[in-house]
Symmetry: C2
């Protein structure tokens, strides 16, 4: 498995890692049960901080693309291929788009929407 990152790319490094692993899964270059390099190992290879790689792995595990087995390492999830299709990102976009377009129709300003959004995300009381 070849993974590379481009620091000059505006795409965040942890996203670059995620996309490459997902791509390898859909192309069957990575098959279920196959081991992935350890967080520290991959971080070392890419000259990245281990936290950056850990973040990518964490998100991949949440989406059931990979499986972390503690001291035994990290492996491709049995249902990795099908879970690559489930687009959580798409659901997020769809849900937010619906809410935002509704609010815009109600006459809300983008500025007001942004402010209220920030309040909610920070659990502030408005």
């Amino acid at each position: 498995m070849q993974i590379s990152v481009d620091i000059d790319d505006p795409i965040p490094l942890f996203v670059q890692i995620i996309e490459q692993i997902k791509q390898a899964v859909v192309e069957h270059n990575l098959i279920p049960g196959q081991p992935l390099p350890s967080i520290r190992q991959l971080a070392n290879d890419l000259n990245l901080n281990s936290k950056t790689v850990a973040k990518a792995y964490k998100l991949l595990e949440r989406d059931a693309i990979i499986q972390s087995k503690g001291y035994r390492g990290t492996f491709i999830h049995p249902d990795a291929a099908s879970n690559c299709g489930t687009n959580l990102k798409g659901l997020i976009a769809e849900t937010l788009e619906q809410a935002i377009s509704q609010l815009r129709n109600e006459g809300a300003t983008d500025s007001e929407i942004r402010i209220e959004f920030a309040n909610i995300m920070n659990n502030r009381v408005s």
Copy 2:
């Protein structure tokens, strides 16, 4: 009609203006049809930029609290009192809260929600 602003107050100046005019409406110190100072006039009295006052007036007109009649000036809207009750801000908060809590239940990260939100607000293609 007495309006005053406090520059040291963390509340934005245009919000201070809006709140005071709304307050005056609910207290019947401002009644429908009554004229408001012109944008430039009020800006001059408060030592503010005219754009700041214009912003406050624009939002007040959107909420049907006041009515702008071009060169004739700005006046209190006939339904000002009742429209002071309709809380657009509350609607925004409610709509967004519903969407966000749903996404959080689906497993979405706050970070992901924020990114997608920014994409939508900027009409970027994701």
